[in-house]
């Protein structure tokens, strides 16, 4: 009897977890729509740069960082030293350190063996989406939900690269040109409900955007985002009083 009850419980838990995971994957749809065309054009451009498809796919699945991958293509095309490419990648992606800090504090309740693989999935987009995800009544964010968001995004990036590499003869590299606005639109769509709830949030975003514009005048875009985020959020703690 007892065993059976436990088995049934296990069954419900696993279907429930599957549901939560799929829900996460569904929530990631705007990211998937945004990533696919960019990843496809990455695949196309890589193969036109003369990079074997296996390496393009490896880059997307191991590095998983859009802007640095395109930058690497440019640098490889003009024969820059490997170490310079790696350094530039570090600088461009250091912003994920800050994003990971913030996101980790939101999923602190998950065990380390979950958080470590999940941290690999942190991008500007998954971070933004998960941060803005409202949990009802302080319910903790489910690991399966986070995994669903991250795996869907990751798969679309890697698959898109492979598709682009395979069809590079038929697809123009400009395939994603008009769609690149999509991810910015997603950021705006994520921010808007928070602003409507508390306009001070909008003030923080505007301050940070202006700061980023100013930093862009003399820093590269990676550092500009890091500095603007740090200073903007620091100022934000004084703008948003209390909790």
């Amino acid at each position: 009897m007892h065993t059976q009850a436990r088995e049934t419980n296990k069954f419900y838990e696993s279907t429930n977890n599957k549901q939560i995971f799929l829900n996460g994957a569904k929530t990631a749809m705007p990211i998937v729509i945004g990533y696919l065309p960019i990843a496809i054009s990455f695949g196309v451009i890589s193969s036109q740069t003369g990079i074997p498809m296996l390496y393009a796919a490896l880059m997307s699945s191991m590095v998983y960082a859009g802007a640095s991958q395109f930058m690497a293509l440019n640098m490889l095309a003009i024969d820059v030293l490997g170490i310079e490419i790696i350094l530039a990648t570090l600088i461009l992606n250091f912003r994920h350190f800050i994003m990971s800090m913030s996101l980790t504090s939101k999923i602190q309740h998950l065990p380390l063996k979950w958080k470590i693989p999940l941290s690999f999935g942190i991008t500007d987009e998954t971070f933004a989406l998960l941060s803005m995800e409202q949990n009802e009544e302080n319910k903790q964010m489910k690991g399966f939900f986070v995994a669903g968001v991250m795996l869907a995004s990751y798969s679309s990036w890697t698959l898109g690269t492979i598709i682009g590499g395979m069809l590079s003869m038929f697809i123009p590299p400009s395939v994603g040109a008009s769609m690149s606005i999509g991810l910015y639109a997603m950021f705006i769509g994520l921010l808007m409900p928070a602003i409507k709830e508390n306009f001070k949030v909008g003030a923080i975003a505007i301050i940070s955007g202006v700061l980023c514009y100013l930093f862009n005048l003399f820093l590269n875009s990676g550092w500009a985002i890091v500095m603007a985020t740090l200073i903007g959020s620091f100022m934000g703690t004084f703008i948003v009083k209390g909790e």
């Binding site: 191991m62 958080k115 639109a185 409507k196």
Partner: protein, 101 residues
């Protein structure tokens, strides 16, 4: 082969910044102020991610990205699902490019 090591290096330097906070923060107890600051980061990050990057959607024509952003903001303001926000702005940019460029 050299390319493989470049990719491996890139993989390491992108994973480490993502991973380190997980390992560090597991050992820390955070003060309430730090917690508040961490909660404010997403709003500041979103501001910095949107602007000025959105202006560079079409090189040399910042107005196109701006228009896409305004349409996105408008659709989001009226609480439509985020998919409409995304496609609304893509459609706007396509139209503008078709008529203006």
């Amino acid at each position: 082969m050299e390319l493989f090591f470049i990719i491996l290096g890139m993989a390491l330097v992108t994973f480490i910044p993502r991973l380190l906070p997980v390992l560090i923060m597991d050992r820390l107890t955070l003060s309430p102020w730090v917690k508040k600051w961490l909660k404010t980061i997403p709003y500041a990050a979103l501001g910095a991610l949107i602007f000025p990057g959105i202006l560079s959607i079409e090189a040399g024509v910042p107005f196109i990205g701006l228009a896409g952003g305004i349409v996105a903001g408008g659709i989001a303001f009226f609480k439509l699902h985020i998919i409409y926000v995304v496609f609304g702005s893509i459609f706007t940019v396509m139209l503008m490019k078709f008529f203006l460029l």
